[in-house]
């Protein structure tokens, strides 16, 4: 019988929702989640929570909405689960290091987008989500340069993108758009 070690995020969720007695104390959990690249975890959740609580549909960029019957391989782990059911995703990692690796994939970089965001309306379907209303980048250090903006515009084409800045629990959204004032008469 395989032993399942729940992912850290599940542990955190249990702490937040149920305060259950599990093998990692909350302190140890926070320490693990604050180390290195996973330190971005809190900001990502802040942004996710902020938009979700206003009714927006938020998905992680690059991750499909529906994974029914699919395997998602990530490093040494394989994930199996269904978005449609309410089951928590379970893993069969050999050790907790592979779980950390999962979080490393979620690091905030100014070059990879964090979320796909859809306006809140009932027309959204997981089976055919369509293009997001915009792609969201989380910025940490400094505002994006013109060169970065230009690269992103080429990358995303017709789909708008925004930058989100999180500081002191405040979440702010900015649009940087190349423009050209018309020649007037």
């Amino acid at each position: 019988m395989a032993t399942h070690i729940a992912p850290l995020r599940k542990l955190w969720a249990l702490h937040v929702l149920d305060g259950n007695d599990i093998h990692l104390s909350l302190k140890e959990l926070y320490e693990k989640l604050s180390n290195g690249k996973s330190g971005c975890y809190w900001e990502l959740f802040e942004v996710y929570k902020h938009l979700r609580s206003l009714g927006y549909v938020v998905g992680r960029h690059g991750i499909p909405w529906s994974v029914k019957g699919q395997h998602i391989k990530s490093g040494t782990c394989s994930l199996e689960g269904s978005q449609e059911s309410n089951e928590m995703l379970e893993m069969e990692p050999k050790d907790e290091n592979s779980v950390i690796e999962l979080f490393n994939n979620m690091q905030i970089t100014d070059v990879s987008p964090a979320f796909n965001v859809y306006l809140p309306n009932s027309k959204f379907r997981k089976s055919s989500p369509g293009d997001p209303s915009f792609v969201l980048y989380i910025s940490r250090c400094s505002p994006p340069s013109r060169v970065e903006i230009e690269a992103l515009e080429r990358k995303h084409g017709a789909i708008p993108f925004k930058f989100c800045h999180v500081e002191n629990g405040r979440v702010s959204f900015f649009s940087f758009a190349k423009t050209e004032l018309p020649v007037l008469s």
Binding site: R9, A13, L17, S53, L54, N121, F173, S185
Partner: protein
């Protein structure tokens, strides 16, 4: 961005009186009258008759100075305005303290000595003026310029312009940190203007002479704040509670 015209008839008035034509008339009139400007610290002073005064006012160059003189008026031109008339429109000559006319190169050097960012600032000023936008100082809004699509008496300014530079002539320190972005965007919003950053790249041409300007490249960019509370299409979607949000987060993020 739609212009906000002041009162009825302003738009029609502006359409009937294109800015390009007014500026062109100013240019001819200055050339004909062989007007000379006097260099005074960071401004250029010009003495003009009623016709020129009217053209300067209508094209939004300079500010009139109050004097006791009745037949002539004095106008004070900013650095960018003066250099635009001299170098780009070639309709004004400026006299230095020694009483001799300054060449464009000499004027350029002088203005650079007073304002190190002048080359980049001028590039932005001339770039917008060349497209027939009215460009005025944006100092009271904490930015470099404000841009109008016609005379300020007829229309509100749409853009608060910030001059940024990249490349070797990187003297400008604005918007390097998020707090400055927050501050500037908030200020622009409170005066109903969109923040327009105009980024100048000198392409390693330096700034030794005004002829370097033609090799500078310019990119325009707007920075706006998005408010998720106000952007929802409708309010009919359910507001998600924390428990569901946390659960979804763990499930699919």
């Amino acid at each position: 961005m739609k212009p906000r015209w002041k009162g009825k008839g302003s738009q029609a008035k502006a359409n009937a009186d294109p800015m390009s034509k007014i500026v062109s008339q100013l240019q001819s009139s200055l050339i004909q009258s062989e007007t000379r400007g006097l260099l005074s610290s960071c401004s250029v002073l010009v003495e003009v008759d009623a016709e020129l005064a009217d053209l300067l006012n209508r094209s939004c160059f300079g500010r009139p100075r109050i004097t006791a003189q009745e037949d002539k008026q004095w106008f004070q031109l900013d650095m960018e305005e003066a250099f635009y008339l001299c170098f780009s429109l070639k309709c004004l000559k400026v006299i230095g303290e020694n009483g001799y006319i300054k060449s464009n190169e000499e004027l350029w050097d002088y203005l650079k000595s007073k304002k190190p960012v002048f080359p980049v600032s001028y590039k932005v000023y001339s770039h917008l003026r060349h497209k027939n936008w009215v460009v005025r100082s944006g100092l009271q809004y904490g930015v470099d310029f404000v841009a109008y699509c016609h005379h300020p008496a007829l229309v509100h300014s749409e853009y608060a312009v910030l001059v940024l530079s990249e490349g070797d002539n990187d003297l400008n320190g604005r918007l390097r940190v998020w707090s400055d972005v927050h501050c500037t965007v908030r200020l622009c919003g409170s005066v109903a203007k969109t923040l327009l950053t105009v980024i100048v790249n000198s392409n390693n041409q330096g700034a030794n002479s005004p002829s370097c300007l033609e090799h500078y490249t310019v990119e325009e960019q707007t920075i706006t704040r998005w408010n998720p509370e106000r952007s929802r299409e409708d309010q009919t979607g359910p507001k998600n509670g924390t428990k569901k949000i946390v659960k979804d987060w763990c499930n699919h993020i």
